[in-house]
Amino acid sequence: MTRSSIFYWFVTPAILLALLYAAALSCILVFSLREHVPGSLVVGGWTVENFSFLLRPLLIAVFSDTALICLLTALATLLVGYPIAYALVRVRSSFLRATILIIAITPMFTGEITRTYSWLLVLGNSGFINAALLQLGLIAEPVQMMFTLPAVVLVLVHFTLPIMVIILATAISQIDPAYTKASESLGAGPLRSFWHVTLPLSAPGLIAGIITCFAWTFSAFATPQLIGGGKVNMIGNVVYQIGISSFNFPLAAVLSLAGVLFTIVLVGLMRFALRPLDHIRVG
């Protein structure tokens, strides 16, 4: 078999999937351009009216909240993920490396609902943390953690951590340890070497990690639904409410499209803003 024919075999599934997604997206696009008939799933005639809905302050607030949650999640994941990724690459013992890898990657293989429900057991009013603090007498009443923004961010961090660790570890493993040696030979201790050499050289990974986690969290649904409990809403939750509770499919479609576009634009902007770091190519 020639090289190019193998290539086509590999690409075919991707093309089929892409077509499927394109079809689904076109359906959403079609829905977004139809009139809503209250109380019915059947849609009316063609209109662009639905898009004006996006300019309502409520929707703008949802968008900016979502972006804020995504940004906080991406940054927090970065802070937690970097040391793990660094250890994953630089720890000498292969047993320790395997352990770190398994712990870091496992969340990926747990269903989203399962994972989110287990956080209820930890964060709930009678959950693990509150029970422990009450038992120790450190608090008199349960601390309200559920249905708060920090809780949503915390669970989302757990969700995005594996992908961040994988991206960062890949970037860090590209950094020749000789750079650190060179830095130390020039009088910089481990901390200064890290700050001046390793960290800047991991910039490509930092950028890729932040953008990926941001874009990934943007479509989060189950986590804000369960942990936010209607008090912390992201775009996915609002789409759900409008679509399933009010049966307003055209409006839900408009919101979904806006979400996709918003992500693309934000990721594009972020990419552009981080352009100055692009000349760092390691190896």
């Binding site: 750079y179 060179a182 030979s185 009088g187």
Partner: protein, 360 residues
């Protein structure tokens, strides 16, 4: 800062049961250019990294200018180091790379700028100050690496196979440049290489190493002319080895019986006991052609004549030689013309240039 002497006192390194470096003693004098020469895995890099502080010795001590630095991390040792692939910081310009060590010393900005400018002049890269390492040629990167290592005025300059990434022509001119900078600064230098030609041309002294041990320490001509053992003799330069056995010691001369008959050499050049199996070492440039019809030390048929530009390498078939050939080097074209393939020739070597070592 004054350049320093380095004393290695019974320093060794073991990894589990593997001995990377058997405990050794070595004294590197102030301002000296010392080369650690040996094949890969001989322990030379371990020793260099020990002097740098990247490897902690399992035993013994390392002193710089008399002060014990065995437990000091690299960043407190006042060293300058040039790495095999230079390890120039890719995210910094040439000027920033040079400034790095001075910044770590927290020197005032103006002084850093002045020193960087001066160093750029020394390494002839003033015009390239704002480039990134990726935009430089191999030789230019090499010069930046050296500049970065010496700008802080280190006590010791450590070079870890710095020329191995360069092509052959460039290597020659970089050898000269490194040597020039080293002499101008008068800096104590430890240079690691597996290239014997590099070692011979650059060093004040060479430590020949193999299998975690130092075989011989001496000036280039000492290790070349008076190797302490068969390993040193065959690692430096080309050599022909002829199997034999010490059969007799008489009147200060050792007689070694070989396939080619008895060879006589001064007793002092044969580190053997009577009856011991040995190899006689002959350098190709020490062999001369004997005119036809005159007695010769060795005889054989020319197998191949290889033109090398400045000289000819002649391979002469001989059953007693390791590899089956004697190597002879002729610079004279007329003589070389006589050594035609297929022709019987006689060879002579002054006995004072013969060495014999026990068979490995």
């Amino acid at each position: 800062m004054q350049s320093a002497s380095v004393d290695i006192v019974q320093a060794g390194k073991t990894f589990g049961s593997h001995i990377a470096l058997a405990p050794i003693d070595m004294e590197i004098r102030q301002g000296e250019f010392m080369t650690l020469l040996g094949p890969s895995g001989c322990g030379k890099s371990t020793l260099l990294n020990m002097i740098a502080g990247f490897v902690t010795p399992s035993s013994g001590a390392i002193r710089m200018a008399g002060a014990d630095v065995t437990r000091l991390p690299p960043y407190r040792r006042k060293i300058g180091m040039v790495f095999q692939n230079y390890a120039l910081f890719p995210h910094m310009t040439v000027a920033d790379n040079l400034a790095y060590g001075l910044k770590m010393q927290k020197l005032p900005k103006a002084e850093i700028r002045a020193q960087v400018a001066r160093t750029l002049e020394v390494i002839k890269l003033t015009k390239f100050a704002d480039r990134h390492p990726r935009q430089l040629s191999g030789g230019q990167q090499q010069r930046v690496a050296i500049g970065r290592a010496v700008i802080t005025n280190p006590q010791v300059l450590l070079l870890d196979e710095p020329l191995s990434a360069l092509d052959k022509n460039l290597r020659g001119s970089m050898q000269v440049e490194i040597k020039e900078i080293q002499q101008r600064l008068g800096i104590t230098t430890v240079f690691v290489t597996h290239d014997q030609a590099e070692a011979l041309s650059m060093s004040d002294r060479i430590a020949v190493m193999s299998e975690g041990r130092v075989r011989q320490v001496g000036t280039p001509d000492e290790v070349y002319e008076r190797p302490s053992d068969g390993f040193v003799a065959s690692f430096l330069g080309d050599v022909t080895r002829i199997f034999g056995r010490l059969t007799e010691i008489r009147g200060g001369a050792a007689v070694i019986l070989t396939e080619a008959g008895p060879l006589r050499l001064p007793e002092a050049q044969a580190d053997l006991v009577l009856g011991q199996d040995c190899e006689v070492f002959i350098r190709p440039e020490h062999l001369t052609l004997v005119p036809d019809g005159q007695p010769a030390m060795l005889r054989g048929t020319v197998a191949m004549r290889i033109y090398q530009g400045g000289h000819f390498d002649i391979l002469v078939d001989h059953p007693g030689a390791v590899g089956g050939h004697i190597l002879l080097r002729l610079t004279d074209r007329e003589q070389a013309a006589q050594a035609e393939p297929g022709r019987q020739i006689g060879l002579h070597c002054d006995p004072k240039n013969l060495r014999a070592f026990p068979s490995a």
